[in-house]
């Protein structure tokens, strides 16, 4: 999707060094991958293409004289809803090119999300609050304790969900692995094969010999078994600490991975086994699955290939959560990730990102009921993904019954992303979703890995504060009673008690509305 004219670029000539001393500084010209800035005949910096700006704000950040302002221009046209600037641009794009819009990042605009839910603290009528500063709180979550020889012990109930090498740069993949190692959580290869350093980086080792840990306490890596099966071999399956069977994802459920040729460089092509520059469009379903029975057989042989040592995980897109989660649990997996409408993507058709799937807050309830009906809630671990922004969202998802959450888009933002939504073009100015060497060299995995680890640690602290002030000393104790819905819609969707009314809405009172 084009974002033509969505941003006003203002270059203050009085502040710009270049206008005083032409040739002295051209950082903005150098740094912008979209050619917004250029040099005129006098070697002065000029804004030569306003319309190309995607709003990533890297130029403003790097301008030594603070001479650049980037402001959204869309606001004046929002009042023309439903014919907003975005809609008009989209129609023009289709009319000019004959093809539909593609875009990265995720869903825009308002869908029901965690904001209309509040946390209930402890007072007299409930267990006393716990002291965050002086008392302990268990944050650990164990996956596959009874089924695997090498269960995963996450230090925090967090994961980095699958983001492929190809969609992300190698440097971003390694930053995620380092952050997972530094915080004791899990990262995921995604469906683009494994980057050579990823397995030992994720476990905390800088070198493949795995002698001394460079990053304590060491984390975990899940390798993905997906519909495109890029780079999958017996060695690949045994390179990780878990295997994730991808059924779907939040941003484009019902479609496969979508990697445009622009991002298929030599290395990406080598790992995926496809020609350089050709689109890698993963199948939307497994060619080698015809029935639910086949899914179960796959889980069984994946266990066999990995010697019954590591957990098998399954990732679902947002469709019919009760039925899907039930089927996944019956297939015999140790953990299930369910990804919501707000989930992110490197590239997806606009209409699919915007209009397909169920919001995350509406998925957790049915998913938990499915697990409870099978008697495996808390045994088969449930991870909620899709628009989780920090400890507060994590708390709410977990109080609704999830065992943990995933930070995908939030992790990208922690790496530097400003949400310009142009991931699919492969020119990410922060080097996150780019295969362009010039952009990639801007991302130092060690430094950005530390930033990511800081974000995870801070979010964990948030989760800990909230857990303890609501009277718990273990994140596994959180329940729906710790939450209230702020409006009728949210209470209707989630079955949570409505503030003031202090009960679930009437149709939820006898069972679960079904």
């Amino acid at each position: 999707m084009s974002t033509v004219g969505a941003f006003c670029v203002t270059l203050n000539k009085d502040q710009c060094i270049n206008s005083k001393m032409p040739g002295k500084c051209a950082t903005c010209v150098e740094i912008c991958p979209y050619g917004v800035y250029g040099l005129n005949g006098e070697n002065e910096v000029v804004v030569q293409n306003y319309n190309a700006c995607v709003g990533c704000r890297l130029c403003a950040e790097f301008c030594p004289e603070n001479a650049i302002r980037i402001n959204p221009a869309e606001s004046e046209l929002v009042s023309r809803y439903p014919w907003t600037l975005g809609t008009i641009e989209e129609i023009h794009h289709k009319a000019l090119t004959g093809s539909y819009g593609l875009r990265g990042f995720g869903t825009m605009g308002r869908t029901p999300h965690f904001d209309t839910i509040v946390v209930v603290p402890s007072q007299l009528s409930s267990p006393s609050p716990r002291d965050k500063y002086r008392e302990e709180c268990n944050m650990q979550v164990v996956i596959g304790e009874e089924t695997c020889e090498k269960p995963i012990r996450l230090q925090y109930p967090f994961i980095f969900p699958a983001m492929s090498y190809g969609a992300l740069s190698k440097e971003a993949k390694l930053a995620l692995a380092i952050a997972a190692a530094r915080t004791g959580i899990l990262t995921n290869t995604g469906e683009g094969g494994v980057v050579e350093e990823e397995p030992y980086f994720a476990n905390g080792f800088e070198k493949p010999e795995r002698k001394r840990k460079a990053w304590e306490p060491g984390g975990y890596l899940a390798v993905q078994w997906s519909t495109g099966r890029w780079g999958v071999s017996a060695d690949y399956l045994n390179a990780g600490d878990a295997v994730e069977v991808k059924i779907g994802q939040g941003a484009k459920p019902g479609m496969g991975g979508h990697l445009l040729g622009e991002k298929v460089t030599e290395d990406v092509a080598r790992i995926r086994g496809i020609p350089v520059g050709s689109d890698a469009l993963s199948p939307c379903r497994y060619y080698d699955v015809l029935t639910l029975e086949d899914v179960k057989k796959q889980v069984e042989f994946l266990r066999d290939i990995t010697n019954y040592e590591i957990p098998i995980w399954m990732k679902l897109g947002p469709s019919r959560p009760y039925e899907d989660v039930k089927a996944a649990a019956l297939a015999g997996v140790d953990a299930i990730s369910i990804d919501g409408l707000v989930g992110g993507t490197g590239c997806s058709p606009e209409v699919v990102t915007q209009g397909v799937g169920i919001p995350t807050i509406a998925l957790i309830g049915p998913a938990v009921r499915a697990l409870k009906d099978l008697g495996v809630h808390r045994k088969v671990k449930l991870f909620a993904l899709g628009g989780i922004r920090g400890g507060l969202d994590a708390y709410k998802a977990m109080a609704m019954g999830a065992d943990g959450v995933g930070f995908g888009s939030a992790a990208e933002i922690a790496m530097g992303c400003r949400g310009c939504m142009a991931c699919h073009q492969g020119n990410c100015p922060y080097g996150i979703t780019s295969q362009n060497p010039k952009m990639r060299e801007r991302l130092d995995p060690e430094e950005i890995g530390q930033r990511l680890a800081n974000f995870i640690n801070a979010s964990a602290e948030e989760l800990k504060i909230l857990t303890m002030l609501s009277g718990h000393s273990d994140v596994g104790e959180l329940s729906e009673e710790d939450l209230r819905a702020l409006d009728v819609d949210t209470a209707a969707i989630t079955g949570l008690k409505l503030v003031g009314y202090e009960r679930p809405l009437p149709w939820w009172e006898n069972g679960h509305g079904d």
Binding site: P275, G277, Y287, D288, F301
Partner: protein, 221 residues
Amino acid sequence: MADAPSVLDAKGKDLRAASTELKSMLAKDSVIVRNSSHLHGLCGGLKSGTIVIEGEGGDYLGVVNAGAVIEMNGDAGKYVADNMTAGTVIVAGDAEYGAAQYCYGGTVVVKGNAGDFTATMNKGATILVGGCVGDEAATYMVAGDVIIVGDAGENLGNYLIRGNIYIQGDWASLGHNCAVVDMGAEDVQKLEALLKKHGLAADAKAFRKIAPLSDKPFYSH
């Protein structure tokens, strides 16, 4: 290696028990497996060894095979040799739906007929079918050779990106991005050697070759 191979009777055993036994036997010897049609994903991820499967096999036999030689003297179930990266799988009888999908390397030979979606997403393996194949054979192939002695169904080679299809018989229809190209001397030589090696009766000169029109096929975006 001892003269007589070990025999694994899989009757009444689950995948884990049969697989553990198979691996310990393979450490010493080649193995004959009997009564394994109820096991799905047997011989998964093996790096070496020679296994003969007697009678019918289960689904996903030899999945992610990484170097073992697996011979079946009966028919194969669904998805035989799925996602194989090295080694050889030979099926004396027919193979059901989805034989040799997602393979990165090695050789798969089905001496009888193979079902729909055979050799789909082949990424570098050599796949020979002595009989006919169903619909959608070699769909989205990105590398490797698929050799079909008999006929093919609808949409042969749909969205072929790289690699070659050689076929002696006829096809019901060709998929997108496919072109019938001339056979070169090296193609005939390669086919002759492969057909002879695997004992398939066919005339290498009678084959036609199908190659991709472009390695960047146009998808409607």
